[in-house]
Assembly symmetry: C2
Homo-oligomer: 386 residues x 2
């Protein structure tokens, strides 16, 4: 019999511009997470840190520093990096660790700090997540690469700038109800369309911000979760997939192959269909990414996808609420933290503690976390523990 | 019943100064490894890359690029980093992946390229593996930190510079028989002692070089290993531990707590005692590190440890051959590759293909891979498949 895996606690810092370094951000989220669980740090068998650009603060080998700081220096720990899907990869490793029987309790902490860098520098670092020899080095940074996908979507599917803008408007509105969000300001479609073009057809407000922040979750066995007594959430599916690293190698540009496959495998692993999903946190680094995601995940049909936000389908009170947290777009995108921050939102929603942004149907939640332009993807499904 | 885990193939590039980038080094080792196994790249369920400083070549997210290049872009992959123990951590993740039943076949590839950087730059990057806020930023680079441990060892245990020099002499001699080694030149105790002091009491020849290189292993189930038909090696124990990140938090400086605990756990997991170990590859980033390692692992007694190399105990034909490959000291130390390169040596020794440096008793091999000054440690035990 396979061991069931549970999330027993989840916490995050506010996303935004941090005066303190990544090690302090990570410690803050980790300590809060451990506190909320009422756990003894010494119970933690393994620490998995998700982080991409620690070297900009001259700190590699962050994981044992964190474990030392939380009071369990003896526990093994390491950092995982898969660009923007590092957080989802950390949870996947934790899942395998618990499933294997090697570990009972795993602490996952995602963290990033980049806003202290000049904008050109953070853009340069982010572009290292692309296939640099063929993309980044030629000047194709992420807004440019996602603009190519947006243009393809417009060309082949009739998607309009207004449709993309509606995604931004929805996610900013959701973030306005999230005290942990980076951008809590509501915006309008007109404001999105009037904002400067970053990479045609993507406007400034089609793009997520560079954020600092950390997120932490405590993962353990179903048995231990019950013993700990608090409410917890079952990890019903944990799937990681890959896709061709560079855009030039893709058969199509209006969908991420890695996401489609991850979704199919995750639904099978969780023994559900897309219709069972009550709400989802998806990887909307750019508005076009959310349009692709909801279709790749089967949450809406191919024809509905472009207009889903505009028509309220993905609103908090719509047929399938997407990014009730505000998403990467407005909650923010501290790269290493992002995938675990999605889990924090799912955990809060499932425990009915999401305040004014609470979604109506929170029995089954899904997270979708993409690395770069789709070279990596993690999809997780969460169910209420019975 | 727990699934047994096997290494079915192992390959590495020559260590040294590489004109090509990390992505080419990684691909070279990976392709050779897959070739030797006669495996179909599509059979690989997961790719784990061990790498620390990919950003110096502007490439993060290296794992899906490698998987794309070997012809299996759909497989999940990510990078693991735990400073100099990244390679050992990669194998540990592969072990958990196979043990959990989530994956049948995992490709681990370690890689690093730093020699194209100015020496001051590579020193700066390496120091990021320390607890930078308390060590690196104050100028305490790794030679300095290991010099502190060497001085403590001399003070408390009577270890002499000649004892340390004997480690270097042995490992250079071993490397002279290893065509993949970075430094294939034999040296004498007098040469070591006459070489410049890098950080008193460590001389130039007490220190490992900065190296470029890659190493790859293919990890799978016992069942699949048998089906593949070639010779393979059982991973009888896979243990990762942690220790206090900075030297200032340690109770003692003449031993690594993380290594002692890892060794104890590994022997129990493999159901052996230290006496059963036929040969070992240990983490000799500095000569003093080998002296500590062989004692921490229980391969020699506390009194024997300082003079073990000088007295021939750890020679290829000694009681317990240590670093027959040449070790980090002379085979070289391409950070991300090192822990997996140790496994390549164990694999070659156990398959009796180590040429003139073949050790006499190769039925049980051990690898010991340390992150930084002992914030992380990985110990693996390998047995001949029966």
């Amino acid at each position: 019999v396979e061991r069931k895996v549970a999330v027993v606690s989840a916490a995050q810092t506010k996303y935004g511009k941090s005066p303190v370094t990544a090690r302090e951000l990570a410690l803050t989220a980790a300590a809060d997470c451990i506190d909320q669980a009422g756990a003894d740090p010494k119970e933690i068998g393994l620490g998995v840190v998700a982080n991409c650009f620690g070297v900009v603060e001259s700190q590699a080998h962050l994981a044992p520093i964190l474990m030392t700081q939380i009071g369990n220096p003896s526990a093994p720990s390491f950092t995982v990096e898969s660009a923007c899907s590092s957080g989802g990869s950390a949870l996947h490793i934790a899942f395998a660790g618990v499933r294997s029987g090697l570990y009972d309790t795993v602490l996952c902490v995602g963290v990033e700090r980049v806003t202290h860098l000049p904008l050109a520098k953070s853009t340069e670092y982010f572009s290292m997540g692309s296939d640099y020899s063929f993309e980044g080095c030629c000047g194709a940074t992420f807004p440019g690469l996602y603009a190519v996908m947006a243009r393809a979507h417009m060309h082949e599917r009739g998607t309009k700038s207004e449709d993309l803008a509606a995604v931004a408007v929805k996610n900013h509105e959701n973030a306005s109800m999230n005290p942990k969000a980076h951008l809590q300001k509501r915006i309008t479609v007109d404001e999105v369309l009037a904002s400067p073009l970053v990479a045609d057809p993507l406007h400034f407000f089609d793009c997520c911000p560079f954020s600092d922040g950390a997120a932490a979750i405590l993962v353990t066995t179903e048995e231990k979760a019950r013993k700990m007594g608090g409410e917890s959430v079952e990890v019903a599916a944990s799937v990681r997939t890959g896709g061709p690293a560079a855009l030039q190698s893709r058969e199509r540009l209006d969908s991420l192959d890695a996401a489609r496959r991850a979704a199919g495998l995750a639904y099978r692993q969780a023994r559900i269909t897309p219709k069972d999903v009550g709400f989802a946190e998806v990887h909307d680094c750019f508005t076009i990414a959310e349009v692709m995601a909801i279709e790749d995940l089967g949450l809406v049909g191919a024809k509905e996808a472009p207009r889903a936000a505009a028509e309220g389908i993905t609103a908090r009170d719509g047929a399938i609420p997407v990014n009730a947290s505000g998403g990467l777009k407005a909650k923010g995108h501290p790269v290493g933290a992002t995938g675990l921050g999605q889990v924090v939102e799912v955990f809060d929603q499932m425990l009915a503690r999401a305040g004014t942004r609470q979604v109506p149907r929170s029995d089954v939640g899904l997270t979708h976390n993409v690395g770069a332009t789709g070279g990596s993807c993690a999809v997780h499904v969460f169910k209420r523990m019975r």
